[in-house]
């Protein structure tokens, strides 16, 4: 038999990998989440999650932390991206690169640096756990917010702004009616790059001595207790939140490259 080579066949190994290492684990998680230790179908894990005040509190705390972090990032990132994009600096691309570069440095080392600084300022990290976590998470995720906003702002059609000015619009009006609405795709992709990781990155909280649980820490604690079933339920809930978020923000394949690829 003659084996004919075709370009399509090159996708076979990767498809198999995706099926075995992406789809199968999710099915297994779904299975564990909906069964008990004896393997029988049950909704107990699901009910546990939504009736236990601890887990609901964790869900609420994660949302609050992620929300505040996202707002802080947005308030730093938007003006920075806007001022950079609209400036006439010759080296603005270099400045952008300097902002984005920390993405490439291991985050635990960066958080260590932030921790030492906060320790020196506050004396004891235990006084402001929520504030410290917001600072740490914003510090970690800021580049992911700046990059997409900057990219959309530089693609903005400048003639629209000139037209607005010719028609008598003030700077502020032109900004509110043209620049801001047109930069929403960048904001949305920045928000999705910050909000979801902020709900799950429990290591930042750990390193800054905030012992309150967020969604990510719950998985870890069930895992260390060998409770795959409840752990899987948490993972499933997280997946659902991510799904809803992705559909709402219309997750774009190109934006995913913001996770570090834009520099190369």
């Amino acid at each position: 038999m003659k084996i004919t080579f075709s370009r399509k066949q090159l996708a076979i190994p990767y498809s198999l990998v995706l099926i075995i290492f992406v789809i199968l684990p999710l099915l297994v998680i779904g299975f564990y989440a909906l069964t008990d230790a004896t393997g029988r179908f049950t909704l107990a894990n699901f009910l546990n999650f939504f009736t236990d005040t601890n887990t609901l509190g964790t869900l609420f705390y994660s949302f609050a932390l992620a929300f505040v972090t996202t707002v802080v990032c947005l308030f730093i990132a938007y003006p920075t991206a806007y001022f950079l994009a609209s400036s006439k600096w010759k080296f603005k691309n270099v400045v952008l690169m300097i902002f984005v570069m920390p993405m490439w440095i291991n985050f635990t080392l960066r958080i260590t640096a932030m921790k030492e600084i906060l320790n020196a300022i506050e004396g004891n990290l235990a006084f402001y756990p929520f504030l410290n976590s917001v600072i740490g998470l914003s510090y970690d995720f800021l580049p992911f917010m700046i990059l997409p906003i900057y990219t959309t702002l530089t693609k903005l059609d400048r003639s629209l702004l000139e037209a607005a000015k010719d028609l008598g619009a003030k700077d502020l009006t032109a900004f509110l009616k043209i620049t801001l609405p047109l930069s929403i795709p960048g904001i949305v992709s920045g928000v999705s790059m910050v909000f979801l990781p902020a709900m799950t990155n429990y290591v930042v909280l750990d390193m800054l001595y905030n012992s309150t649980y967020i969604m990510g820490s719950l998985i870890g604690s069930y895992f260390s207790a060998y409770d795959w079933h409840n752990g899987s339920m948490i993972a499933l809930v997280l997946l659902l939140i991510i799904c809803v978020f992705t559909i709402l923000t219309n997750g774009d394949a190109e934006d995913a490259n913001a996770r570090g690829g834009a520099l190369l």
């Binding site: 996708a11 291991n106 640096a113 570090g260």
Partner: protein
Amino acid sequence: MSSVSKKIVRTAFVIIALLFVYAPILILAVYSFTDATTIGQSGSFSLQNYVTLFTTPELAEMIFGSVMLALVSAVIATLLGTFGAIGSFYSKKGAGNFISTVNQIPVVNADVVTGFSTCILLVIVFGINKDSYVPLIAGHVILSAPFVYLSVMPKLKQLDPSIYEAAMDLGASPAVALSRVVIPQILSGIISGFGLAVTLSLDDYFVATYTKPATFDTISTYVVNATKGSQTEIKTALWALSTIIFVLVFLIVFCMNYMSKKKDDPAGEKARV
């Protein structure tokens, strides 16, 4: 507001934001060259942290292990992601869409879920021993291959399909046409995908913590444990490590940027062809 004061306010804002991003790393870098053990403490110049970093076996092992893991998983991820992208690009629409959609799952998924689910499947269900490094490498491959796929795909879309056909008309076999015509054209996407895979692996904590052998540490898992421990010597040696990584990243990013500038230059482009 006058345009001058506006300019000052804008510049000041950008500078303050830059300080927020860089002050911690830079202050730590300065302190890494002293014998101080906390920030704010006065100390005298010392290279002890760098000596400790390079002479403590567990630190050297951890760095070497992380780099090896990053390279091995990035090579596998680059091969899978690149061929996956080529195959998917030339597949029928349905199959191509399926691969692209599933490819998005690890990208949008939380790393902690990726790590947890990989561990549940490979270690709990399949019973693969973590000490074999298979779960760890598989986890890092699945974390980074989708990003290779995503950085190769746009290059394929830019490709002129007639070049491949021309190569075939001139008698090249599909394999030759692929390796001599298609691959060189998408090489920049492959290289940036590889770079991305290396950094994702080096940055990862969550997948490693669920899948790594108990005695093995990546930079992330080591640093997290070290911040909980009380060994001051190790803590300050990590300041030195963070300074070295900072300088390396700085150099790499600027070299790459310089090279890509040269490549964009049309005269340079012609010279290369």
